[in-house]
């Protein structure tokens, strides 16, 4: 339970606050329109459908304001930088930005549906009032002209159009109606192209269609310009509706009941969304500026299994361990930006990414680079970033157990290199004296470059007589008959047959009890930090083991579990 509070508590709190604001806005504006005196006559025509339309409108204003903010990733990076003092949990919330964006989008979708249905009812009832279907008061109210010294209440002014088509005609000839239909259509297209199936397989459709949000916001800002939600204004002498509502035939002829005047509400949506819209424009400008900044290739290496390593240099670029960048290559696609975790350490004077062939874009990039002559510069590349929470806790523990599963091993390249640099320079920030690294993967294809990195580190450590600093174990969980045959034949070899490393490959999953026992035995008095980048199921297992093998005695070994989403 305590662990949940530490890991998820702040997220839960933020969600509760957000939902609370939504509910508050909905209820407040519902009662504002349902009980407000100035809307008495309007309610007479529309009933509670008025309030049911205006309450979601308020929630929509709030959420349309919020939705642009989580996708301003440069702004978020800036915030993250200034939160360095305020603890990692705060900064980690900024990494859940896309989840929040989706949540807000669902709310917008839901509220749009409620808003639209309520307005369908409103338009129908306005239409009926206009045609005298309802009581005398309704007809009298609807007959109020928009001329001379009278102001109208019912926005449906003419009765020329066929009665059944009037609502459609009304919607398509008023600003509110037309913008409403257009932006709802844009919203629906955005939502259908954002479904996970489409997003994962045809990213371009998702990304290009998503730009309909420009139309959405443009229409949204003008949606209220027609001012068709009308409220009663004070007149001189005042028109008391309680007294006058039954005397509608005498309006204007008796002193107590002058003709009631109405006016539309001032459009407010733009006040909610203008700020985030400006911020977003800055965000796109900033991305564009970063994109034009010069990025030079220090080195290009084609690794085995179609992995491309790019070492890039960009002036003013500063990174932390475990962060990622977005890359854009205009020669392949003008508009696509793809994220890659960085595999270099901050101590190096360049940053590197390892790109695996995993789709159109990556394949084209690899093809382009393969055809380059030796030593030539690669294609023009735009770099945005770095983004992501830095994983600095890794340096705080005396003993670290690092577990990387599958693709989760990539940030550990950065971490291991950084630890090694800090160790060599005797950087006081580094308190680590011993590292146990567990690498779990189905097969080592596409990760041979990581094995190379481990080899280099292994060699350097041996040279300095620090062979004990790093202990690593590779677990191949996807072995089969041919593997075993191969291993049996090469059993006596000095280096491992799969990786070429001195430490042997294990097959199957690790026996965590044995591993924790070993760590505890070798470090009887230390505080051990366990870091995982991998699946949630494994996180649960490791968490339990950490609890199991931690000793209550403060002089003995203690294990602390950190689940990272790098």
């Amino acid at each position: 339970m305590g662990n949940w509070i530490i890991n998820q508590g702040l997220t839960a709190f933020i969600l509760v606050v957000w939902m609370g604001i939504n509910i508050f806005l909905f209820v407040w504006f519902y009662f504002f329109y349902d009980l407000g005196d100035q809307f008495f006559y309007t309610r007479h025509l529309l009933g509670s459908a008025l309030a049911w339309a205006r309450a979601p409108a308020a929630v929509l204003n709030f959420n349309c304001m919020l939705i642009l903010l989580p996708v301003c990733r440069n702004l978020l990076s800036l915030l993250r930088g200034s939160f360095m003092c305020c603890g990692r949990t705060m900064r980690k919330q900024l990494d859940k930005n896309l989840s929040f964006h989706k949540l807000v989008a669902y709310m917008i979708g839901l509220m749009t549906a409620v808003h639209m249905i309520a307005h369908l009812l409103n338009v129908e009832w306005y239409n009926n009032s206009r045609r005298g279907v309802y009581d005398g008061l309704s007809t009298a109210l609807s007959n109020l002209e928009d001329a001379g010294n009278t102001t109208y209440l019912n926005p449906i002014r003419s009765t020329d159009v066929d009665a059944q088509q009037t609502p459609t005609y009304f919607v398509f000839t008023t600003i509110a109606g037309l913008t409403g239909v257009i932006i709802t259509l844009a919203l629906i297209l955005i939502i259908t192209s954002s479904m996970e199936v489409i997003r994962r397989s045809y990213f371009e459709v998702f990304w290009y269609t998503h730009h309909l949000f420009i139309i959405f916001f443009a229409g949204l800002v003008f949606h209220g310009a027609g001012r068709i939600v009308r409220s009663q204004q004070t007149t001189d002498p005042p028109h008391n509706f309680t007294f006058c509502k039954d005397r509608f035939e005498e309006w204007g002829r008796i002193p107590e009941c002058p003709v009631p005047q109405f006016a539309g509400g001032f459009p407010q949506t733009w006040m909610w969304v203008i700020g985030p819209m400006i911020l977003y424009v800055f965000e796109r400008l900033l991305r564009f500026i970063r994109y034009t900044q010069k990025v030079t290739y220090r080195k290009i290496v084609i690794r085995p299994s179609k992995v491309l390593e790019l070492q890039l240099v960009k002036s003013g670029f500063k990174m932390e361990v475990g962060q990622y960048v977005f890359l854009n290559c205009p020669a392949i696609s003008q508009l696509e930006w793809h994220p890659f975790t960085m595999t270099s350490a901050p101590e190096e004077d360049f940053f590197s990414v390892h790109i695996r062939s995993a789709g159109d874009w990556t394949q084209k990039l690899i093809n382009m680079v393969e055809e380059l002559p030796e030593g030539a510069q690669g294609p023009k590349m735009g770099v945005d970033g770095p983004f992501g929470t830095a994983s600095e806790d890794v340096f705080d523990y005396e003993v670290s157990m690092l577990v990387g599963a599958g693709i989760g091993v990539t940030p550990f390249a950065s971490i291991l290199k950084s630890i090694w640099y800090k160790f060599k320079d005797s950087n006081p920030k580094l308190r680590t004296r011993k590292i146990y690294f567990y690498w779990l993967c189905r097969e080592t294809h596409a990760f041979e470059w990581f094995a190379d990195l481990l080899q280099v580190l292994e060699r350097e450590m041996e040279e300095r007589g620090m062979g004990d600093f790093l202990t690593y174990k590779l677990y191949l969980t996807g072995w089969d008959q041919s593997h075993t045959a191969h291993v049996m034949v090469h059993f006596d070899a000095d280096t491992d047959v799969v990786t070429g490393l001195k430490q042997k490959t294990h097959y199957g999953r690790p026996n965590w009890d044995k591993e924790f026992e070993q760590v505890r035995k070798e470090n009887p008095t230390s505080v051990v930090g366990t870091f995982l980048c991998g699946p949630a199921a494994l996180a649960k297992v490791l968490e339990k083991k950490c609890a199991k093998y931690s000793d209550v005695d403060p002089r003995k070994t203690k294990f602390y579990f950190n689940k990272e989403n790098f």
Binding site: L120, E124, M195, S201, Y202, V205
Partner: protein
């Protein structure tokens, strides 16, 4: 744009349109709007479109993700053969279905959305896509183990006597021998 299968997006759009048409129809009927007959049509057409579009088709490249419980719908839709397999038919069908929705405000949005999905289906049809049902894979039978495993050898393998087998480091060349009887299985 890569190998986009437009039908996947058309399917999402059509399913959404069906729901919107259905919702608009329900509002029109429940509120007893003018022209509620068109709303009633919207309900029927909406339900029909949802049933038709619920089962996802099989992707020609990559893994297809089923919608929950779509198997019975797949079977129904499959039974119409070329009518449901061909996307030109679907494009035309959706275009025709959406027209009556335009006669009443409550169903107008459903009409426009269905019209858009009809256009996307047309694009899919022009690209030669087809609706293939996602059917459960038949169990892959494992390669049957060879018969010889049932007959383990009765005798130890033929070897020369122990003195000859001992490793003679001084004379590696002379220590090598050829087996008098073949020891590989397929000679």
């Amino acid at each position: 744009m890569g190998k986009i299968e437009w039908a996947m997006w058309a399917n999402e759009q059509a399913l959404a349109s069906g729901l919107i048409l259905l919702t608009g129809g329900i509002v029109g009927v429940a509120g007893q709007f003018r022209g509620w007959q068109f709303a009633a049509y919207g309900v029927a057409a909406g339900v029909f479109v949802c049933l038709l579009e619920y089962p996802r088709g099989k992707r020609s490249k990559g893994t297809s993700v089923e919608r929950t419980g779509q198997y019975c719908f797949t079977v129904c839709v499959k039974s119409f053969g070329p009518l449901t397999r061909n996307y030109y038919v679907r494009a035309f069908l959706h275009a025709a279905l959406c027209v009556p929705g335009g006669f009443m405000l409550a169903t107008v949005l459903g009409c426009v959305c269905l019209g858009i999905s009809s256009l996307i289906y047309l694009g899919a049809a022009i690209h030669g896509e087809q609706w293939m049902p996602i059917l459960p894979q038949k169990e892959q039978t494992r390669k049957p183990v060879g018969e010889s495993i049932k007959n383990p050898p009765q005798n130890p393998p033929p070897r020369p006597p122990a003195e000859l087998r001992r490793k003679r480091v001084e004379d590696l060349e002379g220590a090598a021998y050829v087996n008098p009887i073949a020891v590989t299985a397929n000679d």
